[in-house]
């Protein structure tokens, strides 16, 4: 894994798996979010002039974007990740918006507290490949492997 490969998709019976890599937990959650959007397709925010398919690291300068407070609590990293991704999925499905930026207030074993910057999607330029019904609990894991954090999850499609 390196900066260019924050996540990979893998086949799973009739569904699809996402594996994200990072050196710290915050980056892992962000890369897992990139993976979710990657599973759905090539998503492009309406306020981007360049085709940015994924979550930006630093740009948060668009006045038309909305900032949402997100809090989750769960008993372990993997469940916290699933809940976080589910929130993103619902924003995508019900409001055609994607996470463009995230500012972390807290992220530990049991709690997530962050401000998510949501950008509207440009549906005319985005390519939607799959309908993700849910981020499942199946084979859900966050582990450390070869000095990296690795998150795996299966989406029901």
């Amino acid at each position: 894994m390196n900066e260019k490969t924050p996540y990979e998709l893998f086949d799973h019976t009739a569904d699809l798996g996402v594996r994200a890599f990072a050196t710290n937990l915050q980056e892992l959650f962000e890369n897992a979010a990139r993976g979710l959007y990657g599973a759905i397709g090539q998503l492009i925010p309406a306020d981007e002039t360049d085709a940015v398919a994924g979550v930006e690291r630093h740009s948060d300068s668009h006045p038309q974007r909305e900032h949402m407070q997100l809090k989750c609590d769960a008993g372990e990293h993997a469940l916290l990740l699933r809940d976080f991704l589910t929130e993103l999925l619902i924003w995508f499905e019900t409001e055609d918006r994607m996470m463009a930026h995230i500012t972390w207030t807290r992220l530990d074993e049991t709690n997530l507290d962050a401000t998510v910057t949501l950008a509207s999607l440009d549906l005319s330029r985005s390519e939607l490949h799959r309908e993700v019904k849910a981020v499942t609990y199946h084979e859900l894991s966050v582990i450390e492997q070869d000095g990296l954090l690795v998150a795996s999850y299966i989406v029901d499609i």
Binding site: T94, L128, H129, R130, A134, T136, Y137
Partner: protein, 373 residues
């Protein structure tokens, strides 16, 4: 690739395999898989038999944890799994035994159009169906319902949309349970689920969902085909879809609500994805009420698409859907939990039957079938 199943699979006869209760300490009944020799190797190739054994650990399970010949690895429950629990014996309801797509199901619509007559219009027909029946990734485009309308729709089932002119009276009779499962509690469906479902009723979705124009290739039972109005060489339409985002969210909400519930009731589970609650508990009743509401939504979803498909056919063939004989043959769910009466050891019991990717078969004369079947 999933690891192959290493546990015991005993062949009972040409079509059945048994996972003995002794395989796991917590198994309450045997696992029973309907599979012939040809399917056995395939079934062992993933962990779906392990999931059959895990389901056998659920409290109140009756007789067997069952699996159909096409089982494959699912979430907690295998796809193609059936499990009946007895509410009177602390039997549980598990959202994983229904799946995310509540009341995903299939319906078949007959026509009196010979395939030979349709050949030249097939391209136009497919184009028109694409334009008329919304499909694809996550998009709406169906008939937009307000939240109060959605709640009525979930309370009244197929009849609600038929009364709005989106179908025929006979459609209701030809739908499992008349397109209405009793005990739906739309008020238990979250606002988030309503939001996900508001503009998706009457949309196909994506994944393995489809609307197909098919041909009756061969009739093997003339009497049954006659009763269903199926004739060799004629076109049919098959629709496979479910409860869309609304149902996914009802499942999602339940999985979240039930996280700590097994521990509360002293239920130990071999897999967290089997999260469950006793049918008679307040948590179990809450899920069942919302699940039934989502099931009714799914019947309305397929009903509206039936109406749209009829419109497309009428446009292309230049005559009404009635003249084309586009009657619904039947609509049956394959992701659902229903309370059904069964005779168990000489005693009639109301069992909570989970079917996940498994279709119920009705014999002639069954109350859920029209009389002519």
């Amino acid at each position: 690739m999933p690891e192959p199943f290493q546990g015991p699979l005993e062949r009972l006869d040409a079509n059945r395999l048994r996972i003995p209760q002794s395989y796991k300490n917590d198994m309450r009944v045997d696992g029973l898989i309907y599979a012939n020799h040809a399917l056995e190797k395939l079934i062992k190739s993933d962990r779906s038999p392990e999931q059959v054994a895990n389901v056998a650990c659920l409290p109140g399970i009756v007789k067997y944890s069952l699996a159909m010949p096409d089982i494959h690895w699912g979430y907690g429950f295998c796809i193609g799994g059936v499990c009946a629990t007895d509410p009177a014996q602390d039997g549980v309801i598990s959202p994983g035994g229904v799946g995310y797509d509540i009341n995903c199901g299939v319906r078949l619509i007959r026509t009196n159009i010979p395939a030979s007559r349709a050949e030249k219009r097939m391209e136009k027909l497919v184009e028109t169906l694409f334009q008329t029946v919304p499909c694809g990734v996550g998009r709406g485009g169906g008939i937009k319902f307000t939240h109060p309308e959605l709640k009525r729709l979930m309370a009244e089932g197929s009849r609600f949309v038929v009364n709005k002119g989106l179908g025929w009276n006979s459609d209701v009779q030809n739908t499992e349970a008349g397109g209405l499962i009793d005990g739906a509690e739309p008020d238990l469906v979250s606002d988030r689920a309503l939001k996900r479902g508001a503009n998706q009723c009457g949309t196909l979705g994506s994944g393995n969902h489809f609307l197909e124009v098919q041909v009756v290739d061969e009739v093997v039972d003339q009497k049954a085909a006659g009763a269903m109005g199926l004739e060799q060489g004629n076109l049919t339409v098959m629709i496979h879809s479910g409860s869309r985002g609304l149902g996914y969210q009802v499942c999602e909400d339940a999985l979240m609500d039930l996280r700590g519930v097994p521990r509360k009731y002293g239920i130990s589970l071999p897999d967290k994805q089997l999260v469950c609650a006793p049918v008679e508990s307040k948590e179990g009743k809450k899920y069942l009420g919302a699940m039934r509401a989502a099931a009714n939504y799914a019947w309305c979803n397929r009903q509206i698409m039936t109406h749209l498909a009829r419109q497309a056919f009428a446009d292309v063939f230049g005559v009404s859907a009635e003249e084309l004989g586009m009657h619904l043959v039947y609509d049956v769910a394959h992701n659902i939990a229903k309370v059904e009466p069964y005779e168990v050891d000489g005693e009639t019991k109301s069992l909570c039957v989970h079917r996940k990717g498994a279709t119920r078969a009705f014999p002639p004369g069954h109350p859920e079938l029209p009389d002519r079947y």
